[in-house]
Symmetry: D2
Subunit: 366 residues, 4 copies
């Protein structure tokens, strides 16, 4: 693991997720640029001091030198955004698979560079932890769309709304997320808008091709967008709206998607992830629920407990790790790989261009 020292949030989440199923063991880490933080973090996690590395380059070299049976199999990247690319590059070049937190890189150029690096290492897996695709009912939504369950898709509403940055916030999490040097050219959209984009493309199975965006900075003194909305178009005539905000007071982590086709619709909300609403022409709306026998086989495989025993964010995250472990065993593919990584950065790139250009319709590179 690179990143995830004391005071970090997402590193601990990755560790819970990796640990849950008992398939993945944390064996080494470069948890912080602060060596003492790394040492304390490693100790509290039961690692031997010798595998708590002062920096990620040292880690790559030292681990690569270990016998294959001992050395780490893959690197989990849980740093602020600007470090994602260099660590991924170093890991892949040292021969390690990579599972990276999102967004993949600081900007689109880096993402394309990363794509070339990945292309050079066909035996290595690259995965991006788009956690929300780990919810089995998101997979069920996609399965229903794929099976024609809502007919040809017409309209998508996707949102990711939070409120925690409605005022000036002074903590480590807020700090780097609002710093262009560490977050990239976008704040809110890079941080959470990318999840909304990823979710919309996944559920519909369509690529977003164009957007017209209006990004905002509502809190005085902030340097990156803390809110934004966009009109978008996808392949095959699908249209939609996407909003992301971190200044909507009282919203916690309200990612939601509604997709409507010619004969039906689907609605899913991350904060009640065990329910999927399905609408029909001329028939009552149905409430699809986690772990029920009427779900597709794929969705059922994503649950750990019987119906009515709520599974949440950590279980979804654990599914991302479990899927990555399966990919390493060649039992499946990563859900979001380098293509999704590049697409996410292209999305952010297009948002910035459009918003800076009077919301002009802008093509998303693919």
């Amino acid at each position: 693991m690179v990143g995830g020292g004391e005071g970090a949030f997402i590193g601990e989440v990755h560790r819970w997720a990796a640990r849950l199923d008992g398939e993945i063991e944390l064996v080494c880490g470069a948890f912080s640029r602060d060596a003492e933080n790394t040492a304390r973090t490693g100790q509290s996690l039961g690692l031997s001091a010798s595998r708590c590395y002062s920096d990620y380059n040292t880690m790559m070299q030292a681990e690569a030198a270990l016998p294959e049976s001992e050395r780490m199999e893959f690197v989990a990247i849980v740093t602020p955004n600007h470090v994602h690319f260099p660590v991924a590059k170093a890991a892949l070049e040292a021969g390690f698979h990579v599972l990276s937190d999102k967004p993949a890189t600081l900007n689109l150029d880096e993402a394309k560079a990363l794509r070339e690096i990945v292309a050079k290492s066909p035996t290595l897996a690259y995965g991006l932890t788009h956690t929300y695709l780990g919810y089995p009912l998101v997979g069920e939504a996609r399965a229903i769309v794929d099976a024609g369950g809502i007919g040809k898709v017409r309209k998508v509403f996707v949102e990711y709304i939070q409120g925690w940055l409605a005022t000036e916030v002074d903590n480590k999490q807020a700090d780097w997320r609002t710093d262009p040097a560490r977050s990239g050219g976008s704040g809110c959209m890079g941080d959470i808008g990318t999840h909304a984009h990823n979710l919309a493309e996944f559920v519909t199975g369509k690529r977003m091709t164009h957007l017209a965006a209006d990004l905002s900075i509502f809190v005085d003194g902030r340097r990156l967008d803390d809110d934004g909305s966009a009109l978008f178009r996808m392949e095959d005539g699908v249209k939609g709206t996407l909003s992301a905000s971190q200044v909507c007071v009282g919203n916690e982590n309200s990612l939601s998607i509604r997709v409507y086709g010619e004969t039906g619709g689907l609605e899913w909300r991350q904060e009640e992830p065990n329910t999927l609403i399905r609408t029909h022409l001329d028939r009552p709306t149905e409430i699809l629920r986690a772990s029920q026998g009427y779900l597709s086989e794929g969705a059922q495989g994503g649950f750990r407990t019987p119906a009515g025993h709520p599974e949440g964010y950590l279980e979804a995250f654990a599914n991302v790790y479990r899927d990555f472990a399966k990919a390493l065993r060649s039992e499946g593919g990563v859900t979001t790989g380098i293509d999704g990584a590049v697409r996410g950065m292209a999305f952010v790139d297009a948002l910035l261009k459009s918003s800076n250009n009077n919301s002009e319709w802008t093509e998303i590179e693919s």
Copy 2:
């Protein structure tokens, strides 16, 4: 009443609304271009045959000729859109107050012409039945915003989503709503998008100044938009998104608004109109409920029954009639009058221009 013969929907709604409080009596009508329909409708409503008129011009003349104590006081216009303007004109010019269904006219030019006619008759009231402002908790939302309860407003999400036109629909209601000659230049936006616009302006107390819109026709063969979304800007830096659709399968009449300011937020949904959600910085979200003593005096005056006895669409509509009756007694003003009428048509006009111009930001005339 002009319009509202057998087979019409909204005329019956107006009659229920007018009747509920026992303050308004239907005394005459020109219910249909079909004289037999008018006669049957009038008879079933207990009107004397002599006051069931073959057309609205006849009605204006005949009623104006009656002694003041007998003649109608105001005209309710419940026809398809293209007849709103000529009837309103005729009524005002004959000296009658007008309460018109929305949209006020077929297009912005007519609305401006109507504004001039209204201006010439300062003693006559002109009201537009924007029903949804009749819900008392909508008034409560406005009262909270006015009192600074959510701080300076930043972001608005407003939607009006239906599904009943997801397929080709063959009935009288669908027919005129999708006919440019009777509906005006817009279908969905003119019919329901105008309610969303009206609601957003009312709750925030701000005028919408610019929009960038993307209107769609999803059902083959349809001639007017059945879906659309827009980015918008309001006075004082407020931004937002507005969507209206009639092709989102499974949605009934899902008008909703969410407004976020610097220190709080408000959420209201027409399909659960007796609940208003209020969010805060650092405090639990509150559920404000109809008829409760903690509501503002204004909101409390809008309810007829104690808390927990749901009031709905007809009661909201009756409030619009009650407010109009009060205005006629000089006890208050109409909620949406000629200014709101013009603004609604300017909104539709701007939508059409923007959508036809590659979603370019377009100013809304005011």
Copy 3:
């Protein structure tokens, strides 16, 4: 109308309900024991002073003496409970139909006496305004049960929970409801528990035969139950629980029923009356909604507006009046008549006996 003068609540509700459909006209009244109150009330309702009567006996005689074309057709009783019986008796004996607020009488003996009086006047209709049966989705629930849609019924949960009497309340409504002389032997159960009983019997189509009850007085100084729960048994092996309370802080008017059979279930809540939840073995739960075409014909006939335009308490009450008007035109029967009236009082009688007898199982007279 007898009762319903200034300061009363339910009289005004009756008037709105009677007025809504334009089929019923209020022609006379004895609104209060206070003649001035009666005069003021009648005047504000547009009645001629000559038909505002000082007391109900005077009204019966005077109206009976009018020509048939002028005299009232039926009497609506909206007084406190203790006056229900004498007015109903006087009206029936004077040859008028009766629509009475519930409970029918002060106690079971009176109810049986009333049954005899009704039996002597086979041409006169007697109806009880069990408002909540006026919600069309309650009728839909019954229709589903009747059609075998949930299989043989097994278990019922029915509740009517309010909070407005959680503290000592000093107003006219609270006053008579907590006075044994005016309310009868039970407070909360007579006032709202009877609705729960009526709803359970209606939806299941089964009679409640036995109960074991525990009634409580939680507020110091109160003389009648303000809370209670009971286990019950119905015909054909159905079991259930019934709770009613007026001291559950924060509850408004939370009447709800859940019924489970061998193959499905139904859930309905008065505060969201336009939704009926239907559960199935091995299939997703369905959300049945007001005014939808998939509902039974009977239910569809109970709505006035299209789906998504919420109808509420007044519309349900108006349906009770409309059904009574139909019964007077011999187009149908009353939903709750004298049998239901007696059953409601027998239910209260059994509750009191059981609760006073250490919650012993007690038979409900039928």
Copy 4:
């Protein structure tokens, strides 16, 4: 671990819960009476074959003989109910702490015997996995009650409703749960009613003292109750109702509690465990949400992720394990220990007595 071989449900849940925080390591097990199942289970969990024991007695002896640094610290019991007592006895007598699935024993006599055994080993911890107390918002509810936040408690509604046994079910989980020899004298009440009882006592801080119960067997051929309801009384005048059922079609795992006091109320539902509703006299109802800063310190300590990242059943279960680990480190006490264990069995004992005795009020031994 004793129990939890292939085909079992709850053993896997215990393993996830124990693993999540990285504080507890599974070192040995007697997973099944079938030695091959035990071997396969152990292997899949990465245990050495030498610590996969043929039976629990062998395990106790072998582990006790290991050096302290190597041997297991405590035994997790995840067998069907009838084996809980003998394993707990063997473990305690061999000097091991015990964390047992519930109910603690097959009947009240065994529970009392277990209490004596625990009393003889004051240095050993005994804990019962009442999972639902592991939800932090359940702790918040208790904290609010303790702080007087709802005033003196008056009324409790507690339910645990499922539907999975609505028909004859033929699987391993259903099999032992409906077998008196393995489940004890009660089916549904022993399995899930005990959770409802435990929750009611925990949230109110009051002991349930008396109950009047009506248990049912709805499915033909079943030998133990699959449904039941009870009226109950607690210390200090609290009254309530408790229902548990496994035949309510469409219900998944619907444990819920509503508690009302003199000045407020609390409502919590297991299927939406991250929300706690709080009601007030004369103020809007509040929605308390997981991980928010306004919660009590104790509740905040129970969450792993920020607000809006739903935590569920496994996290609650992990909290039970974490609390047990803390207890072993003398940093706290077990949430439900031997007293709660005995009380749970006394509750079931009283239910059976009352139900067999015409629902007579029956004292719960304490």
